[in-house]
C-alpha cells in the first residue's frame, strides 16, 4: 500500500496518496464547485497547473490558495466556497 495522508475538506475526512494535490482531494470527496464566480456561477479547476486561479479555496484559514499547486498534508483543513 502506498503511504497516505488524511485531510479534511468541508468537514469531511479524505485519504490521499502522499504527494497528491488538494484540488484532487476536493474532487475525490465529490465536491465540484470550488468557488463562486463574480456573478455567482459554480466553478472548478480548469488548467490544473496554477495559471487560471479557478481552483482557489481556503486552506488552513488562508484564502485564495490555488488548490492545484498545494500538496496535501496530514490534518490540513480545506474549505471551498461553492
Amino acid at each position: 500500500m502506498p503511504e497516505t495522508v488524511t485531510l479534511v475538506v468541508n468537514g469531511v475526512s479524505v485519504e490521499m496518496p502522499v504527494g497528491s494535490m488538494v484540488s484532487a482531494a476536493i474532487l475525490k470527496t465529490g465536491i465540484y464547485a470550488f468557488r463562486r464566480s463574480a456573478t455567482g456561477e459554480t466553478r472548478g479547476p480548469l488548467c490544473g497547473m496554477g495559471i487560471c486561479f479557478e481552483c482557489r479555496v481556503v486552506i488552513d484559514g488562508e484564502p485564495h490558495c490555488r488548490s492545484c499547486q498545494t500538496v496535501c498534508k496530514d490534518g490540513m483543513d480545506v474549505r471551498t466556497d461553492g
Binding site: M21, L46, I51
Partner: protein, 418 residues
C-alpha cells in the same frame, strides 16, 4: 521568513525539460546553478509526478542526470518581480526569496489555449492537460466517462494516459481536418515510434478529425456535450470534458524583463539568448515545439550561459531537425475559423471577472476592453482569456507590469522597498 539565496552563476526559471537540460549543462560546465519553479516538484507539466517513477526512458535519463550534478532546486516558488538588475524575487509559502544571478535562463514553458463556447465555465470542463495534471496528482478517474477535445498532439497523449488509469474515453474530437492530419502523419511517423505506441494504447477509442465541441450542458456541473462533425450534431453524456486547443508560450516573465517577443514567443538568437544580454530562453516559451526541441534548446542555452559556445554550436543541427518538426506541428494544428463562432452573446470570455462576449465585441482593442469591462484584470491576469481574445478579436496584450502574478501584500511591500 524572507530568505536570501547565495548568488548563482546561472539561474534557471522553470524545472521542465528545457530548464532541467539547461541546468544540467551549465552545472556540468562548472557553473553554480539554481533552478526555481512554481510547482512543488521538478519535471514541468510533462514529467509531473515522475520523480520516483518515470514514465519513459527519456524522463528517467534526465531526472537521473539532474541528480548527478550539484544544483540548488527551489520548488514552490513563483517569480513575480525584478527589483534591480540581475535579481529576481519569488514568493514561497515561507515568504519572499531573493535570487541573484549572473546569467538567467527563462524556461517558463507553455499553457493550454482555451477557447470559449457555451458551457465552458461549468465545473468538470477542464483543459486536456488540466485533467491529466489532476489525475497525475491524485484524482481517481477509474470508470469515469471522458470526452477529450480541442486540438494538438497533447489530446492523444492525454487520452492514452487517462485510459491507462481506467477512464472510459468516449471520443477524441480533433478540430484539425483529416487532410491536415494526413500531412502531419507523414512527419510524425518518420520521427518516432511514440505515435505507434499511442495508436495501440488508444485502440477502440474513436478519433474524430474535423470535429469539435459546440456546447457543454449541465445543472451546476457538466452532464453532457454537443459535438459537431461535417455539419452533423450529436450529444454525448460524460463526467469530464478535457478540452484544450494546442499550447501557448508563457511570456509574462520575459516581457516583465523587457525581452522582445514576436509571433507569440520569446525572440532568441542562435545561442538562445534573448534581446537582453545574459538572459536566455529555451523550450516552449520560444515557440511550441515539443519535448525534443525543448531539451536541445535547453542544452544550448545552458552551455551558452556557461560560456561554452563551441559545444553549444555542436547541437545546432539537432535543434534544426526538431524545429522542422515543430513547424509542421504548428501548421497542422492551426485553428479553424468556425471556432470563432461558438460563443453566444452571453458566453463568458473572461472567467475571472465574468465578462461576456457581448460586452467585449463593441471594443476595438484589449486595452479599451480592459478599461471598460475589466476583461483580463482578474487573478489570472489574462492568462486564460488572452489566448481567446487574440483568436476571437485579434487583440494582443500590450504590456506586463509587476507583479507578474498575484502575490501577498507583504511580498509586494518587499518588492517595492527593495
Amino acid at each position: 521568513m524572507d530568505k536570501v539565496h547565495p548568488v548563482c552563476d546561472v539561474l534557471v526559471v522553470g524545472a521542465g525539460p528545457a530548464g532541467l537540460a539547461a541546468a544540467w549543462r551549465a552545472a556540468a560546465s562548472g557553473m553554480r546553478v539554481s533552478v526555481v519553479d512554481d510547482n512543488p516538484a521538478a519535471g514541468g507539466q510533462i514529467w509531473r509526478g515522475e520523480q520516483t517513477k518515470p514514465s519513459s526512458a527519456e524522463a528517467q535519463q534526465w531526472l537521473e542526470r539532474i541528480r548527478t550534478v550539484d544544483i540548488q532546486m527551489i520548488n514552490g516558488a513563483r517569480v513575480f518581480q525584478q527589483p534591480e538588475a540581475r535579481m529576481l524575487l519569488a514568493e514561497t509559502s515561507e515568504g519572499v526569496c531573493e535570487l541573484k544571478y549572473q546569467s538567467l535562463v527563462l524556461a517558463t514553458g507553455a499553457r493550454e489555449r482555451f477557447l470559449p463556447f457555451p458551457g465552458w465555465t461549468l465545473p468538470n470542463v477542464m483543459g486536456a492537460g488540466g485533467l491529466q495534471a489532476l489525475v497525475k496528482t491524485g484524482l481517481p478517474i477509474e470508470g469515469k466517462r471522458v470526452v477529450v477535445a480541442g486540438s494538438g498532439p497533447l489530446l492523444l497523449a492525454v487520452a492514452a494516459y487517462l485510459r491507462r488509469r481506467g477512464a472510459e474515453v468516449l471520443v477524441i474530437a480533433e478540430q484539425a481536418s483529416s487532410l491536415q492530419l494526413a500531412r502531419f502523419g507523414i512527419g510524425l511517423f518518420s520521427k518516432s515510434s511514440q505515435a505507434f505506441a499511442l495508436k495501440r494504447q488508444l485502440k477502440g477509442v474513436p478519433y474524430r478529425s474535423g470535429c469539435w465541441v459546440v456546447a457543454a450542458y449541465g445543472d451546476e456541473k457538466l452532464e453532457r456535450v454537443t459535438l459537431v462533425r461535417g455539419g452533423k450534431h450529436w450529444e454525448v453524456a460524460c463526467d469530464y470534458l478535457a478540452c484544450g486547443f494546442h499550447l501557448l508560450p508563457n511570456l509574462e516573465l520575459a516581457e516583465l524583463l523587457a525581452c522582445a517577443v514576436g509571433n507569440g514567443s520569446v525572440i532568441v538568437d542562435e545561442f538562445q539568448q534573448t534581446t537582453v544580454s545574459q538572459i536566455y530562453s529555451a523550450g516552449e516559451a520560444t515557440g511550441i515545439g515539443g519535448l525534443e526541441l525543448s531539451l536541445v534548446e535547453g542544452e544550448i542555452a545552458g552551455l551558452a550561459a556557461a560560456g561554452k559556445r563551441d559545444e553549444a554550436r555542436n547541437l545546432f543541427p539537432i535543434r534544426e531537425k526538431h524545429r522542422k518538426f515543430a513547424e509542421l506541428l504548428n501548421r497542422t494544428f492551426a485553428l479553424r475559423d468556425e471556432l470563432k463562432h461558438l460563443v453566444a452573446p452571453e458566453t463568458i470570455v473572461c472567467r475571472c471577472e465574468d465578462v461576456t462576449f457581448e460586452r467585449l465585441r463593441t471594443h476595438s482593442s484589449w486595452r479599451a476592453a480592459k478599461l471598460q469591462t475589466r476583461c483580463g484584470m482578474g487573478p489570472c491576469q489574462g492568462r486564460v482569456c488572452g489566448g481567446a481574445v487574440e483568436f476571437l478579436f485579434g487583440w494582443r496584450a500590450e504590456s506586463v507590469r509587476p507583479p507578474a502574478l498575484p502575490v501577498r501584500v507583504e511580498s509586494l511591500i518587499r518588492g517595492v522597498t527593495e
